[in-house]
Symmetry: C2
Subunit: 299 residues, 2 copies
């Protein structure tokens, strides 16, 4: 089953202790798609500006990603400048230029409206809701949201959470949304808001998924050389949803395996700048790391 993703296609400028890169191909939709495309066909719903490099478009076309709903508009592309400090824990945004994304209104084809797996990457809940309303009977809707929207469009976000299946958050976002310090209490509170599951990504500390029926906790895959954390959460979502779309079954067993695939995806993503590590990944790479991971966590 294919996946439809709504998110940004960005030009990222990134500083980490390992170095500096300018105008890298990035954005939530891209980090997600680079992983999800390994499992199934991905339709990208986003917008690029006039200054978006042809090379990047060429690259995306060659990666078997459906770009029919990637609009090109007059104006400059979405741009993000970020710096990570020594511990790589938090992203310090130096600049965000929305560019053409500020007036983006997604439009998708009749065929795309029937796609069963939908990822609403972090963004304006109004935009997420707008796209969601276009979808015809989706089977799995996953939604990501960040502190900005939790603070500024809380009511809209809460309304949206009633209509989705999996809410993806990091631990701080889960705490902020639920107003609970304890992560388990936070997750329970958020489940009451409406989503069927909440998947909390804790970066180097792993991930924990809560549903009304079960809890699943997993450590991270240990990565020794973290180069750039940008997009790890979206790559995680790409592994999680990619796996589920491929097996096309949302049972507890498959959901748990999907969290494992998400974890592996995130671990690859952070091993190089931008999408440099994920760009040429294969499912074989996934399976090899999965075997190593099972040895690390099995007892």
């Amino acid at each position: 089953m294919s996946i439809l993703v709504l998110g940004t296609v960005a030009l990222d400028s990134i500083q980490t202790p390992s170095g500096k890169r300018t105008n890298l191909l990035g954005g939530s939709a891209i980090h997600f798609a680079m992983i999800a495309k390994l499992f199934t066909c991905v339709s990208l719903v986003s917008v690029i500006g006039e200054d978006f490099p042809e090379d990047y478009l060429y690259l995306l076309r060659n990666k078997n990603i459906d770009l029919s709903s990637l609009k090109k508009e007059k104006g400059s592309n979405f741009k993000w400048e970020v710096r990570y400090e020594k511990d790589l824990d938090s992203a310090i945004t130096l600049k965000t230029e929305l560019g053409v994304f500020s007036r983006f209104i997604p439009s998708i084809s009749r065929l795309q409206r029937k796609i069963k797996y939908v990822f609403l990457a972090n963004g304006d809940p109004d935009l997420q809701d707008y796209l969601l309303k276009k979808m015809i009977n989706p089977r799995l809707i996953c939604l990501d949201s960040m502190d900005y929207w939790i603070k500024h469009k809380r009511r809209k976000l809460l309304k949206l959470l009633k209509n989705i299946h999996v809410y993806l958050a990091n631990d701080q976002e889960a705490r902020l949304l639920s107003q609970e310090d304890n992560l388990i209490k936070a997750a329970k509170t958020i489940l009451e808001f409406g989503p069927q599951m909440i998947l909390i990504k804790k970066a180097e500390h792993g991930a924990i998924l809560f549903s009304k029926g079960f809890v699943f906790s997993l450590p991270a895959y240990p990565v020794e050389n973290v180069i750039d954390p940008t997009g790890a959460g979206d790559a995680f979502a790409g592994g999680f949803m990619g796996y589920l779309a491929r097996v096309d079954r949302i049972s507890p067993t498959e959901v748990k395996k999907a969290v494992v695939y998400g974890t592996i995806a995130g671990s690859f993503n952070i091993e190089d700048f931008g999408i440099e590590r994920t760009l040429n990944l294969t499912l074989r790479d996934f399976k090899e790391r999965l075997i190593r991971f099972k040895r690390i966590i099995g007892f």
Copy 2:
């Protein structure tokens, strides 16, 4: 096989968002012993002052703990006052009174010198070394140490690490000792210092064990109502060593299982003030939680 533990027997005064308690029975040796005694006989090597309540001594005697090397000295008992903030992340020490512990010189019996399992709880590396030299051919020596000793007796600690099997640390301590930010690099560096294994306890984020031959990572058991984190690390050590002493086999398989037992021990310890939760625990409680835990982490 029995275990010998060198550590503090303290009177703890604890403030957490859940409440306040004064002069609770605590200390590293106590938190450790409350768990380890479920698996095997524990010999306590420590000192108490004249003000140590008779009730507590009575309680310990009734818990089948060998107190023959628990000295009583003139002067006041080791006392610790601590406050935890809302997130329970870090202990803010309000007061430490070493009392009789400041001039404590452990002496143990000939029989105790032959005990094969030795836990050197956090303390002065000189004292840890002094006791270690008395032991005759121990099979498993685990050592805990905190930032104070890492900073002030670094050379002595590094020397000691060459002679022990498992170094127990939290993530900050591992980073401090190794001077590496990345936890995996930190662990590898510490392994080069000499211990056969390093077990990094990450509180709510689980634990990760590194040896020269394998890595084992485990999430925490999810605890919804954390009341008091005091002694969780020592309880973890109690579960870890207790299990290994009971099976008396230090293979990778058993070491991994021991980490699981340590994790469960820590999860019980934080559910109430001081040792209130662990005092009357049974191995049956452990096994029940272990079954639940396996459901949460299995896939």
